[in-house]
Symmetry: C2
Subunit: 96 residues, 2 copies
C-alpha cells in the first residue's frame, strides 16, 4: 500500500536538527521524498510497523509530529501534483 | 471527501515568502492545519476545483510544489498520528 508520511520536527535547538536529519534519513530508506517533509512509501503492514517503531525511537513526542496517511494499493488516481515535480518523483515510489 | 494538501513554497526571496503566506491563508479557509505545511480539508469535487484554481493563481510552478492526496469519505482509519497533535486537530477537519 502507498503511505504518505509527513513530519514536523521542532528544530529550535541542535537536538531537534539531529532528530530531523534522522527522520529524513529513515524515511529515505523506505521511500521517495516528494517535498521537504513529505515522503511517499510503498510498504506492507509489517514494514509499516517497523517504520513506526523506528520513528518512535527518534522523535520527541511533545514537540515533533508525524502523520501517516494510507492511500491503499489503488493510489494513482488519488494524488494530484501542482507546480514543481522533483526528479525523484518521475518513477514509482521507491522501496529500498 | 478528505483531502490532504501539502506544499513546499520556495522562500529564498520575499516573493516566495509572500506566496507561502497566501497559500497558507487560502488553505486555512478550507480546512485544518495539522503541520506547518500540511492541511486536511473536507471538500466536494466542485470545491476542490475551486481550491486548485486559486492555488494555481498563487504558486510559481517552476519552484513551488503542491500535492493533494484524496483519502475519500472513509478516512478515519487511514490516518495515523505520532507525537504532538495540534490543538486544531482535536475535532473534525474544518470546512469554512
Amino acid at each position: 500500500m502507498l503511505l504518505v508520511v509527513t513530519y514536523d520536527v521542532d528544530t529550535t535547538n541542535k537536538e531537534g536538527e539531529h532528530r530531523l536529519r534522522k527522520v529524513a534519513q529513515l524515511c529515505e530508506r523506505y521511500g521517495m521524498r516528494v517535498q521537504n517533509s513529505v515522503f511517499e512509501v510503498l510498504l506492507d503492514a509489517a514494514q509499516l510497523t517497523t517504520l513506526k517503531c523506528e520513528l518512535e525511537k527518534i522523535i520527541e513526542p511533545d514537540v515533533d509530529s508525524i502523520r501517516i496517511y494510507r492511500l491503499g494499493n489503488s493510489y494513482k488516481n488519488k494524488i494530484e501534483v501542482m507546480g514543481k515535480t522533483s526528479v525523484l518523483q518521475a518513477g514509482e515510489p521507491l522501496l529500498l
